[in-house]
Symmetry: C2
């Protein structure tokens, strides 16, 4: 598992810039009436995020044999869904966060009612974008419908929203390893999986390929969450953008709090190894996804 941080950062930056430009492009539809809600949607969407999910959509589309361009509406739609979930998670009645990545959260700028509506609007716009594009593009309609279905399932009550419900129910409680794994696999894992699967489906990947990319997604989600928890224990405050030790202070059960740091690092390493193994069928074409998995072991933010 060789990993060259400098080379990875170059590779991901190119992809981030591409996604950023596509997002800017597809939100030209945000220049509409009434202005307030569209301004707030713009604020929430351009939030300094890493754009991991849309990058995954595009990579999987290429791996499937398709083009990045055909996957862009799905990539932007998934980023809109991710952004809406952050806006609602930050609300006073949820995590009550005033800042996200150093910027005031949506409800601090636009008020609570407008923040609820901004989240609703981003979620709705995601499906509008997916369906509008299907009408305009050359991509097979059956594939687009399948993608809409997978994204809706992953983002819904049996996926991301279900994970948030379990997270809220677990507040201040000690939860066991199985519950912790389920919580994260729903709250963040499902949308990672939908990102990779959507791109792959749009690109025309066959079923064994889809299975391999799904295995990668599952292991990536786990690796990403463990690395998040480890960073919270021993990261650099200035880099991660929140106080170190905030999970412990908030009595949150994490991988390190349940397993200890050494065992958590071990599990992270195993998940990354599983990621890399899942990518074998794709050979050199999966180089970036391989780097992305390794990155979870070396990330500083």
């Amino acid at each position: 598992m060789d990993f060259d941080m400098k080379s990875f950062q170059k590779d991901i930056k190119t992809r981030q810039e591409y996604v950023e430009a596509c997002l800017q492009n597809c939100v030209s539809l945000l220049d509409a009436y009434p202005p307030l809600i569209h301004e707030a949607m713009h604020y929430a969407l351009f939030n300094g995020g890493k754009r991991l999910r849309p990058i995954m959509v595009c990579e999987a589309a290429l791996l499937g044999g398709g083009s990045r361009e055909d996957a862009i509406p799905a990539a932007c739609a998934i980023e809109m869904i991710h952004s809406y979930s952050l806006v609602h998670d930050d609300l006073p009645c949820m995590d009550d966060d005033d800042f996200r990545r150093g910027k005031p959260t949506c409800h601090k700028v636009y008020g609570e009612a407008n923040a609820v509506l901004t989240g609703d609007a981003l979620l709705t716009a995601a499906f509008e974008l997916l369906s509008q594009n299907a009408q305009a593009s050359e991509v097979d309609l059956g594939r687009t419908i399948r993608v809409i279905s997978e994204i809706a399932r992953a983002a819904g009550s049996r996926g991301m929203i279900g994970g948030q419900v379990i997270d809220l129910e677990s507040e201040g409680k000690n939860i066991d390893f199985a519950t912790l794994k389920t919580l994260h696999s729903l709250k963040t894992g499902e949308l990672f999986q939908a990102s990779l699967r959507s791109g792959a489906i749009l690109g025309g990947m066959d079923e064994p390929g889809l299975q391999a990319i799904t295995d990668y997604a599952r292991n990536f989600g786990l690796a990403f969450q463990i690395s998040d928890d480890i960073l919270d224990v021993q990261g650099d405050e200035a880099l991660i953008g929140k106080p170190v030790g905030s999970d412990e202070k908030n009595h949150k059960t994490t991988y390190p709090s349940l397993l200890g740091l050494a065992k958590s690092r071990e599990m992270l390493k195993e998940s990354v190894a599983s990621c890399i193994q899942s990518l074998e069928p794709f050979g050199e074409r999966a180089a970036f996804l391989r780097e992305l998995a390794c990155f979870t072991m070396y990330r500083e933010s």
Copy 2:
């Protein structure tokens, strides 16, 4: 404009029972993990509503030459969207309502955070239902995609959500006639329109027919809102389920507050006449939609 209330009530009851059974059927997917969110979704969806929108979807599908069955997923999806909008509108940061149709509102029963998530989940489930069904049914995929696109647009920031934003901005202000009309045409009119158009598209209606049904929808939305405002001035508290005069108390601009009661009644009558005129191309097959428009002049709740 003959109208027989007894006969209408019989006609709408049959349709309500059909929709209610279909909703029960399609939410079998709500028997899932985690239980809390699915129980709350069920609570919000089975709220004693009139089911006007799904009934419209089915009627328009028949008018277009299709079957009610093919339109049922769209009908249920639109009712889920309507229900989610009520859950979010009732939140403390929005209208702060404790009761809806005599039952405690979602956030009173499940808490504020879960109510936000319940709305999110119903909205997401609507699109899952639409796309899942497309994969299973015989309906042309292109029609389903068009319907998803129309519903998403109508429910989004340039439609229903935009209307709610204007409504919140207008609180305690005097707004003019044009703003009042825009507010309602976005907040409630767009989803009525999407209901009728979705059914018509799924049923295979031609473009002139679609134009006629769109005209009907626009005038129906106006008639429905005026009748709502009139009821608030002179309705029977026990029947409308909220105190008479609540709009005036809340300093809400309404059709009667801007135009007076007599002029409002005149406008209601004109809108209903326009509804009936729009239905002419459909002859006797549009009998129920004709009754439904007339009902706005005679409704007591």
